[in-house]
Amino acid sequence: MTDLVLSLLFNGFVVGCRYLVAVLFFTLVQTSIEVIHIAYGGVIVLAGCAAFITIKLGLPIWLALLTAMLSGVVLSTVMELVIYRPLRRKQASNMIVMLVSLGMLYIIQSSADLILGGLTSRLRPEMALSFSLGPLVITDAAIWTMIGATVVSISLLFLLYGTSIGRSLRALSSNRQLARSAGIDVNRLALVVFSLSGIGAGLFVILEGLDLGIRAYMGFDIALISAFATIIGGFGSLSGAALAAVLIGMAKDTFPLYFATVWQQLLLYLCIFMFMLAKPRGFFGRKVWKAEL
């Protein structure tokens, strides 16, 4: 029994770490630019296609990582310039922005479907290396995932608290009007944030591809998970989102301990729903009304 508990928890933790990579960047965009960036799933998928093609050409995995990141950056910035910036200028409501973003996701997914087909494509020609550690079975993909998660978190921390960009980002997310009047250029920051998120997408898709594989329609799911994590962590709180991501991953894998795996998804979303009911502000969220009174 303890073996089961341990291995479930560990696997869940790894899944959570993988989510974390995507979630952090999603939340970064959400808090600083105030865009619910559903199309981030699309960015991930397209980065996946780039990586897939690179591997198909027989090039090594690190090159695939580079191409994935590069394409992610390009797509994100293009999206910002062509879609989000004009909408900001028109002062379209969040709802509109969200839906446009969703439409972009559909477009990208269906074009990715042309490249990948319905099949799930893995990013390496050989099997994973896995070794047992007591009850746990640890694959190299898992190790890479955990390393990636740590690197991403640390570098984001440094970015936010160690650089001038980070300072202006925090200013922006804490009080927009003030930041604007203090002469912070939102458009410039948006570019920075979006290109960062592109890099994140590249990394995420490689981790996913090492472990599970890439498919054209995975974008929507990960966008959804990211949105939930953002809420559960509390709008505007990166650390909260990170925590939420890991928790979601672990919760997802601990339910099967007591229930049949059929109920896994149901219970997961039941918990998410209940948590949101009980604590709409999430872990570290700000109050909503205070701002308005």
């Binding site: 149901l266 709409p280 009174l293």
Partner: protein, 300 residues
């Protein structure tokens, strides 16, 4: 022509969904995005009751009641949080309901669904053919539309719009915000469930794949493309977004790529429409004009 009737009937049904969501989201600005769940609940309720030998009207009434009751569950968070939180919360609810439909195999038949649902029978007439079903929806949809429009134009509706626009101001002039919101959701969602109970007879079979999050997203797009806070807009939106994929079936392309290209076009259409008309095609209704004219009449 049966094909036209089939498409027509689904346009009608989705128009109803869009209009209902519009009352809740467009007017009340309550970010409830789970139409498909209530649609599905209506469908399952009436499918099961019909198989148990009930007539159409009682089943539809029960479906409406169930929808209204369940809307209370949603109104719990709706009274507490801001609409953009609410959108995500209700999305979670949506997946929750889908999973429930999928896994309560004894009741819903799980992923295998419910088979051999008899067609609607009213006053001894069987709505078996596509034409008759289409005509039924063609009666049903305008009725729902009128009902919602009546609500939207009534004193209550205007208060709802006011609440949607500025909750604090509405409170400070003595509007009972909570009650208005609950009413809005009860009305919208129960009508949605009614539409579901009609839908369950469209073919002889339903399963949970018809009530996924993507269907909700379709309804949401219908509302937003048409124009939030504009009931006519929802009808236009339903017409465009339901008939566009069908229209695209007639666009001749080398068939191996055609299907993905069509989906691509669909996505593009949504994006372009929203980039061109950020307020939706029909835009937001300007309630002032019409009613002020009405007041002038009263003066003279």
């Amino acid at each position: 022509m049966d094909y036209v009737f089939l498409v027509g009937s689904s346009i009608c049904i989705y128009a109803v969904l869009g209009v209902c969501l519009n009352l809740i989201f467009g007017y009340g600005n309550i970010g409830v995005v789970c139409s498909a769940s209530f649609f599905g609940i209506g469908a399952y309720t009436s499918a099961l009751l019909t198989l148990a030998g009930w007539n159409f009207f009682p089943t539809m009434l029960v479906a409406i009641a169930v929808g209204a009751l369940l809307s209370m569950v949603i109104s719990l968070p709706a009274l507490r949080v801001h609409w953009d939180y609410l959108v995500i919360i209700t999305i979670a609810f949506n997946i929750l309901m889908y999973q429930t439909m999928l896994n309560l195999q004894d009741i819903t038949g799980g992923s295998f669904g419910i088979r051999d649902i008899p067609p609607i029978e009213l006053f001894g007439f069987l709505f078996k053919t596509r034409l008759s079903y289409f005509l039924l929806t063609l009666v049903f949809a305008p009725l729902c539309f009128l009902a919602v429009r009546y609500v939207a134009n009534s004193m209550y509706g205007i208060s709802l719009m006011a609440i949607g626009e500025d909750e604090l101001a509405a409170k400070s002039i003595g509007k009972n915000v909570g009650l208005h919101k609950i009413m809005a959701m009860a009305i919208g969602m129960s009508l949605t469930a009614a539409a579901g109970s009609l839908f369950s007879h469209q073919s002889t079979y339903i399963n949970c794949e018809s009530f996924t999050l993507h269907d909700t997203v379709l309804v949401l797009s219908i509302m937003i493309v048409g124009g939030m806070g504009n009931l006519w807009g929802s009808i236009v939106g339903a017409f465009i977004l339901v008939s566009l994929p069908e229209l695209l079936k007639f666009v001749g392309m080398s068939s191996s790529v055609a299907f993905r290209v069509r989906e691509l076009i669909f996505g593009l259409a949504i994006v372009l429409v929203l980039m061109l008309f950020p307020k939706g095609i029909m835009g937001k209704e300007q309630p002032a004009e019409g009613r002020v004219k009405h007041m002038l009449k009263q003066k003279s």
